[in-house]
Amino acid sequence: MPMTVTDTDTDTDTAGTAEATGAPQEREHAARARIGAALRGTARRPWLLLAALYLGLVLAWTVAPGVFAHQDPLLTDASRGLRPPGAEHWFGTDNLGRDLYSRVVHGTRTSLVAGLLAVALALVVGSVLGALAGYLGGWIDQVLMRVVEVLIIIPGLLLSLAVVSILGFGTTNVAIAVGIAGIPGFARVVRAEVLRIKGSAYVQAAVTSGRRTPAILLRHIVPNASPPVLVLAALDIGGAVLSIAALSFLGYGAAPPAPELGAMVSQGRDYMSTAWWLTTFPGLTIALVVLSTSRIARALERSGVSS
């Protein structure tokens, strides 16, 4: 998974001494107030608003592609091949006469669902590994963190490629491959958070009062560790969509005729000089999805869920 800004604090061990946090209730209240402020602030930030609107549109495409694109993305019609963008075909047609706009709408759906799946996988597996390592400590921590390190030193795309070549082609497999490459980021952040929270007064109090480990993990640690993890997840969606597009560009995505944005860019390359729209629209759609998610994730981060 491409790097996101939060991945950069590698020096997680020092985080254990971070500033003391208040009691859970207090934090929750404060968080709600901050989100309210963030919403009010949105109106003053037009780019954020645009990003939110675009992402809303894309999510709507994902939920109900048929409502937004009336033409069949798979229907070929050789007599309508390579039409430039116009009133009938907003984004033009490809050489088999398929409507590019419909293909982009359906392709966006595929990419976005895969991206969310990848991040969900990374989040769940990474969090479990990180929480176990951070809370249990000792040799388990050592072993788990070495495993994570192994995942880190193999470049993400190489790792994903290898995983796809084992699992076989297809959107789900690509999502899994990208998700695996995203595990280390979550594992590290969660571990750091857990170490921080573990040292806090109220957790120490819970331990002394004889609460059992699972209860402490669920009652105190998970709720308090989640805000930064969720921000990381939000930031990672863009990266995951990019990685999935790259894999599908390299030819590892869904089996045709299913449309997929990366594969559409790749196929359009034969027509770079004759039909610019074939590469331009799918590529632009990916870029805007990544841009919007990262804009919103950043706003979330800044409006202080974690700072």
Binding site: L74, F169, Q267, Y271
Partner: protein, 549 residues
């Protein structure tokens, strides 16, 4: 994108990357495309000198053409080494080259060649009967490292040196295809002094041939540089220039991306490119100052092959219906922009054994539906797909190697055409094929490509003889196998073609193959380049090419 470096024979992929062919019907479309002959490349008298810059789709990993059947290795090999015979690109007729004449015994087991006596290898060694013997012995020695060449020499017994310039090659059993094989780069002649070298070093070009060029440098999978051999004087019978090459040197560089390759030509970075992409061929031909020359490959027509071990394809009517439900012209137009030809037979039109079977290869969905009804696929479900009495859906899977946009688009178009008559086609792209014999080939439908300018190619592909190359392996059709076996014992051209015709008719009648199109490959070059000429497989003769100053 990635032009495949994979077991390409099992997918159309192979062709996109590796093909090239012209010569046969040199359908040059010069600027504007209206003047097929007069407007190609540079005009006037050939000029000596200059460096030809030539863009490949993919650089070879080995330049010993005996060890690599891939077209890029053969193309380089053609410039470095000569063969005993040459094939006329128009008729397929065998012409003398390093061998001036030949005789075959009645049993088709013994082949005697008379050799030229004025030929030397680039290391100074003479070409003679001893050299030919050493070459054939060395190929058998190479074994698995020279798979194609080895198969041409199947049943090799020995080579006998009759005198300085006469040599006889003997086989255990009839081997009629051997004669045409001597015209392929798989059996080129190298200096006997080179033959003892380590096969890996031979791959890197550490050998001397008798060709018009010598290897200046070679970086596997990256680049090749050739230098003219000044004392060359025994060019192929096809060549107008019987002496040394016109250009001083040649540099070959790989540019896998079609559009990038074409852009490099039009922006003047290279003089000659192979595999002009179908999508932009018309554009290039219409560009002032550039020429596209294309031809049909002498091969099997690119087919869909209904796998006879597939449960749903046991019935010949079902298999034949697949062919009648394919609109070949629509595929050619939409996917290949009119630069390939709808198939008219089991073999492509430029293969010497081609038989016109276009009446059987028509687009007729009604007839297809009728055949399917007759075969028991008579109920159409809510999804539009046919079912038989057991309720089984007529759903067929094609497992293919990913990487070729064109073949993938072709499959998508066929998917829709078949759906109209109630057949479902499921596309299953894979990165690498499992290593299985033909009778365990995955899915229900296969695609295949095999180039050889001889009818023998149908013996390899459509018999039951070879585990990994023959479609009917373990499911023999005895009538067909008998016909194909008799090809090996027949030397007379007319007789061979007659047998081959019967075999091709049987293949279509039984639906063992659904030929779809004849692949066309195209070269593009600027008007600075003159004398472009290619052999029957489309490989250019670079000693003919010259560059306008």
């Amino acid at each position: 994108m990635r032009s495949s470096r994979l077991p390409g024979s099992r997918a159309l992929t192979a062709l996109t990357a590796a093909t090239a062919a012209l010569a046969v019907v040199l359908s040059g479309c010069g600027s504007g495309g209206d003047d097929p002959s007069g407007d190609e490349g540079a005009e006037g008298e050939p000029v000596t000198g200059g460096t030809l810059s030539y863009a490949f789709t993919e650089a070879p990993d080995c330049v010993d053409p005996r060890q690599r059947p891939q077209l890029n290795s053969r193309t380089v090999g053609r410039q470095l080494a000569d063969a005993l015979t040459e094939q006329d690109p128009e008729t397929g007729e065998l012409l003398p080259w390093l061998a001036t004449s030949w005789e075959v015994n009645d049993e088709v087991t013994s082949f005697t060649f008379e050799l030229r006596d004025d030929v030397t290898f680039s290391d100074g060694e003479p070409f003679n009967a001893e050299a030919v013997k050493a070459n054939f012995d060395a190929i058998v020695e190479l074994g698995a490292l020279a798979p194609q060449a080895g198969s041409f020499l199947a049943g090799y017994q020995q080579t006998v040196v009759d005198d300085e310039s006469t040599v006889t090659v003997e086989f255990d059993e009839p081997n009629a295809q051997f004669l045409q094989a001597t015209a392929t780069q798989s059996l080129v002649q190298l200096s006997p002094a080179s033959l003892d070298a380590d096969p890996a070093d031979l791959c890197l070009g550490e050998f001397a041939g008798s060709g018009p060029f010598t290897l200046e440098s070679f970086t596997p999978e990256s680049s090749v540089e050739l230098t003219r051999r000044d004392d060359y004087a025994w060019a192929s019978p096809l060549a107008e220039n019987q002496g040394a090459a016109h250009v001083d040197s040649v540099t070959l560089e790989p540019i896998p991306e079609g559009s990038v390759r074409q852009g490099s030509l039009t922006s003047g970075q290279v003089d000659l490119i192979e595999s002009v992409p179908a999508s932009t061929q018309e554009q290039l031909a219409g560009t002032e100052g550039f020429t596209v020359t294309s031809t049909v490959l002498p091969a099997i027509a690119i087919p869909y092959i209904p796998l006879v071990h597939s449960e749903r394809l046991q019935d010949a009517d079902t298999r034949r219906a697949l062919g009648l439900a394919i609109d070949r012209q629509a595929i050619v137009d939409a996917v290949f922009h009119g630069v390939s030809e709808p198939a008219t037979g089991v073999l492509s039109t430029t293969n010497p054994g081609h038989v016109d079977q276009s009446a059987d290869l028509r687009y007729d969905p009604d007839a297809a539906a009728e055949l399917l009804e007759r075969a028991g696929w008579d109920t159409i479900g809510d999804d539009g797909i046919r079912r038989n009495a057991e309720g089984e859906r007529l759903s067929l899977t094609i497992t293919y190697q990913s990487g070729s946009t064109e073949s993938e688009q072709q499959h998508q178009l066929v998917q829709q055409q078949w759906a109209e008559v109630g057949i479902e086609l499921v596309l299953d792209p894979v990165a690498t094929f499992p290593d299985v014999t033909m009778d365990e080939y995955p899915g229900d439908i296969a695609t295949w490509s095999q180039t050889r300018a001889d009818v023998d190619v149908i013996r390899l592909v459509y018999s039951s003889f070879h585990p990994e190359m023959s479609m009917l392996y373990n499911h023999p059709d005895e009538e067909l196998d008998a016909l194909l076996t008799s090809l090996q014992t027949t030397v007379d051209t007319e007789e061979r073609l007659a047998i081959a015709e019967q075999a091709q008719r049987r293949i279509v009648e039984q639906g063992y193959s659904v030929p779809v199109l004849d692949r066309v490959s195209a070269y593009g070059y600027s008007d600075e380049l003159g004398g472009f000429l290619a052999d029957i497989e489309g490989k250019p003769l670079l000693n003919e090419v010259w560059l306008a100053p």
